[in-house]
């Protein structure tokens, strides 16, 4: 059923349909509308879940870990400072292989304090062992939450998932969204069956420490699970497409890449703006295309290499900065690595930090910079302030 919903409320609908047993979250802008709506659903009896109003994000994810270890499906949502406050728990959750799904309303990191959008928060946790997917619009954000539970709880994976979407651009934007029927969702996401759980009738110890004789193999197993996740996302994404008509069997999406000489690469809502810019540039005869990265962890290096094999230049638009690195952007570094020594030029453009608007003309100027071999830089700085 298509309805017009605010992004956050569409996410709350996706969570309701996923039927979590325990929700534990702490308010932070711009994530709050999600957990407010979920609290309403629980209060109205529309969602049968325990809702834990924790005193901090640190406890939010810790409580999710406990509930998940006890065999329940759990949900949380956060953003920015909240995610960083959880960082220690994030690594722990992945290490303990709990399939927790968490919404990340992407927002900049302090200092300076900024409540506005960029993707520095989730990118900062790229090595935490969480699967990371990035959505372009409200519908995709809704869909990826359902996909996330299906993938996380698959016994070949058993890893937590960040469903990332741009704060405000998605969380606070009203768009038409196809809200699926609960029976259809139930068929796609079977009840959670934990491999192990805390249970007095079958005692086991969880979260034991490992000496140097054992530690590395645990970390290796997480990495193997990430590799499995790449496959499971494709399988589940393909099934999603068959059931609901929107296919997520690929980790990346192309727009006018077939004959492109120049490729722009990006994640999240800015892809919409880039598509508009490409439409304009194509009218001027410029052979530009877009590669949208949806799955950032596991990083789809093979798909990216294949998708970009025929272009000569690649510009990666980054809403993050890896401070002190030559390329400046964390995603560009990985795209460059994926392409390898193919002779294709890859450059990063750090832009849109702290909510600075990225306009169509910015994309066009960025493409011109790429054509002129200027990149691996901040883009769109106010020179008069420097």
């Amino acid at each position: 059923m298509k309805v017009i919903l605010e992004g956050s409320h569409a996410i709350a609908e996706a969570v309701r349909l996923s039927k979590p047993d325990v929700i534990s979250a702490y308010p932070i802008t711009p994530q709050t509308h999600i957990v407010e709506r979920l609290a309403e659903m629980v209060a109205d009896g529309d969602l049968d879940a325990e809702y834990i109003c924790v005193e901090s994000e640190f406890s939010a994810l810790s409580a999710c870990l406990g509930a998940s270890a006890a065999g329940s499906r759990v949900y949380s949502a956060t953003s920015s400072q909240g995610l960083l406050f959880m960082a220690e728990v994030c690594f722990n959750v992945a290490g303990m292989r709990q399939p927790i799904v968490m919404s990340i309303a992407n927002r900049a990191i302090s200092a300076p304090l900024s409540i506005w959008n960029d993707q520095q928060d989730s990118i900062a946790l790229r090595d935490s062992g969480w699967i990371q997917v990035y959505a372009e619009d409200v519908q995709e954000t809704f869909d990826l939450h359902l996909l996330a539970y299906r993938v996380a709880e698959d016994h070949r994976v058993l890893l937590p998932v960040f469903v990332c979407f741009d704060g405000y651009y998605i969380s606070h934007t009203y768009e038409p969204v196809d809200i699926l029927d609960i029976d259809e969702v139930n068929a796609f996401i079977p009840p959670y069956e934990p491999v192990n759980k805390l249970d007095a009738s079958n005692p086991l110890s969880m979260g034991m420490y490992a000496t140097p004789e054992y530690y590395m193999e645990f970390r290796y197993e997480i990495d193997k699970a990430m590799e499995n996740a790449a496959l499971v996302i494709k399988e589940a994404g393909s099934e999603f497409g068959k059931r609901f008509g929107r296919d997520y069997s690929k980790h990346v999406e192309s727009y006018f890449l077939e004959d492109a000489e120049i490729a722009l690469v990006a994640m999240g809502s800015v892809c919409g703006t880039i598509k508009d810019a490409i439409d304009l540039m194509r009218k001027d005869g410029k052979k530009v295309g877009l590669l949208k990265i949806r799955t950032f962890r596991p990083f789809p290096a093979t798909e990216i290499k294949e998708a970009l094999k025929d272009v000569t230049k690649v510009g990666v638009l980054e809403k993050n900065v890896s401070l002190g690195t030559r390329m400046k952007g964390a995603v560009g570094l990985e795209v460059k690595d994926a392409i390898g020594n193919s002779g294709i030029e890859v450059m990063s453009y750090v832009t849109g930090l702290g909510g600075r608007d990225i306009k169509i003309e910015d994309i066009i100027r960025m493409t011109e910079s790429l054509e002129n071999g200027i990149g691996d830089c901040f883009f769109g700085l106010r020179e008069e302030l420097l």
């Binding site: 924790v54 810790s62 006890a70 722990n92 005692p203 034991m208 420490y209 000496t211």
Partner: protein, 295 residues
């Protein structure tokens, strides 16, 4: 009532000989029984009992981080509630994770009123990392981060009053006890796990390694702490003291002089002025809790 003959913490773990916390672990589970789930914090007990792939625990046990056991327990309890299960949810954590780094999570869990029993094994410093002071370290104790020196007589602050802080959260049952009185520990744990709501028990667990006494004397140290009035054993129900262990009080020197952590107070000769300050702490405890036996 739980079957007290059950040993739910197995032998063969790696605790020091004469470890107070190891004894506490056995007693706690005799009180809560096999229908228990334990949420542990990083610390001595976690390390001596669960080196992968071995575990001493015969009940379900989970360790996440240093400071989040109360939050993990909140989640476990909520999940059990949703699943219609009835296991007792316990936290068993040291004083560092309880008094210091875990306070945020504990305060939240108690304010929310989860049905959990939070047990602190209080050995009065960070023993696992090499005897650093915590908020539970007593006045004048020599630790590696409150060392005695030309300008220092050891830890300069008194012990934080955590039982009252948690009672002020509205905890229905708050108790203190010592492993020197095993049946008292068992009974208090049993009462806590059968009380609805967040309960707190602080168990005084002498540490031979950190305090500096022979491991054969752990029970004796526990008794001396109670008998001098430096540690008070009580039960507090809905914020009101219900029961206190009364003693014929001994001077604090009898406790202090047996432990290396206080040996600077006696060398080269007894520092009477400083010992008097510690005696004043015991006297204040006696006044507040009425622990003196009237003979």
């Amino acid at each position: 009532m739980a079957d007290r003959s059950l040993e739910l913490v197995d032998c063969g773990h790696r605790a020091c000989g004469g470890c107070g916390p190891a004894f506490a672990a056995r007693l706690i589970l005799k009180g809560s029984g096999s229908n228990s789930i334990v949420c542990a914090a990083t610390g001595c007990m976690e390390v001596f009992s669960t080196p992968y792939p071995q575990t001493a625990w015969k009940v379900p046990w989970i360790h996440s981080l240093f400071q989040n056991a109360a939050a993990v327990a909140s989640g476990v309890e909520s999940a059990l509630k949703h699943q219609g299960r009835d296991e007792h949810v316990l936290c068993i954590c040291g004083d560092g994770s309880t008094f210091d780094i875990g306070m945020l999570c504990i305060s939240g869990a108690f304010e929310r009123g989860h049905n959990i029993t939070y047990i602190c094994y209080d050995n009065e410093a960070y023993m696992n990392t090499g005897i650093q002071r915590s908020g539970a370290t007593p006045f004048d104790a020599n630790t590696t981060t409150s060392p005695v020196g030309k300008n220092s007589l050891g830890n300069s602050r008194p012990k934080k009053d955590l039982p009252r802080i948690l009672a002020a959260h509205g905890a229905p049952y708050v108790a203190t006890c010592s492993i020197a009185y095993p049946n008292d520990v068992i009974k208090k744990v049993e009462r806590a796990v059968n009380t609805q709501g967040p309960c707190y028990i602080q168990i005084h667990t002498p540490c031979c390694t950190g305090w500096g006494y022979d491991g054969s004397r752990t029970i004796e140290m526990g008794k001396l702490a109670i008998e001098t009035g430096l540690f008070v054993s009580f039960e507090m129900v809905n914020g009101k003291i219900e029961k206190v262990k009364k003693v014929k009080r001994k001077p604090v020197e009898e406790y202090l002089k047996e432990q290396k952590r206080f040996s600077h107070l006696f060398k080269p000769k007894p520092n009477l002025e400083e010992i008097a300050k510690i005696q004043a702490i015991a006297d204040a405890n006696a006044e507040i809790y009425g622990i003196d036996l009237k003979i």
